[in-house]
Symmetry: C2
Subunit: 140 residues, 2 copies
DNA sequence: GGCAACTCCTTTGTATGCGAACCATTAACC
DNA sequence: GGTTAATGGTTCGCATACAAAGGAGTTGCC
């Protein structure tokens, strides 16, 4: 059995990466039966919060690179989760809307996110949960 | 419009992802002048801790998928950061060693990691830093 | 000895993630 | 009003990530 270097458990960048890796993986598995990825779920949440956003606005809201978002949106249109509508005012822009299929599953999908969050924080006391979120917000 | 039960700033999976995104990006930028990536730096730290590890052992230590590691190691050999030596006892296995070039930069590179950690936690009190790391360890 | 099971690693396929270059369009300004 | 700057989106290149399958090698067990 290989031991972990003493330094690693003290390296916050490493710890943060691994905590994210686990949280992301768990959420991904939870979403797999729906044919959605973590990222695609996030996009839907953004559009449920405000329909008709452009890719640039959505990227700003979700802190995502436009190059990344471009591919994600294309696959989501392909899979019928969202709709792109070119703006008549500015032909560079597309307004984004969740599809009927997405809206039908809205409640269930939001519930899955809540469950994922609950599962992630299961080992924390209520106080620790609030504190943890507060600290994460500082880092962003 | 239907309201969202839980706002994005309260979604821990999201917060964790964004905190990681920022930490990872900052460390990546810090390492760029050396021609190293975050992941490659991590591999070197693992091998400095114990030379001659196999890919499987290193993956276990760093919690990395073997498929991911395979490509990373290939690029690191290509770039002259590490050396792969086939084991005479078991021809499936490669033992991994940091190159002379890597060892020459060991002190500097470890210093960069420390600086990255310091920068990341700059907004936290000493108490918060310890608490944050403790909470992250629970999640792994 | 021999074959099944297991292990190590690679390969393939899909999905991020971001910098940089690029095209089309719109805004800004002289 | 025409050149320049800025913006929105796509594409390319590179580097993770991981599931799944596959090839090569080793072990276990009768």
């Amino acid at each position: 059995m290989t031991k972990i270097p003493e330094d690693l458990p003290d390296c916050t960048v490493f710890l943060l990466g691994k905590a994210y890796q686990k949280a992301h993986g768990d959420f991904q598995k939870r979403l797999k039966p729906y044919g959605l990825t973590n990222m695609q779920h996030l996009v839907l949440e953004g559009l449920w919060y405000q329909e008709g956003l452009t890719a640039a606005e959505l990227g700003k809201m979700l802190i995502l690179d436009k190059a990344t978002l471009s591919g994600v949106l294309e696959r989501m249109v392909e899979a019928g989760w969202i709709r792109k509508e070119q703006s008549p005012d500015d032909r560079r822009i597309f307004h984004l809307y969740p599809s009927a299929k997405a809206n039908d599953m809205k409640e269930v999908l939001i519930e899955e996110r809540k469950k994922a969050n609950g599962e992630l924080l299961a080992g924390f006391s209520l106080e620790e949960q609030l504190l943890f979120k507060r600290l994460l917000r500082v880092l962003m």
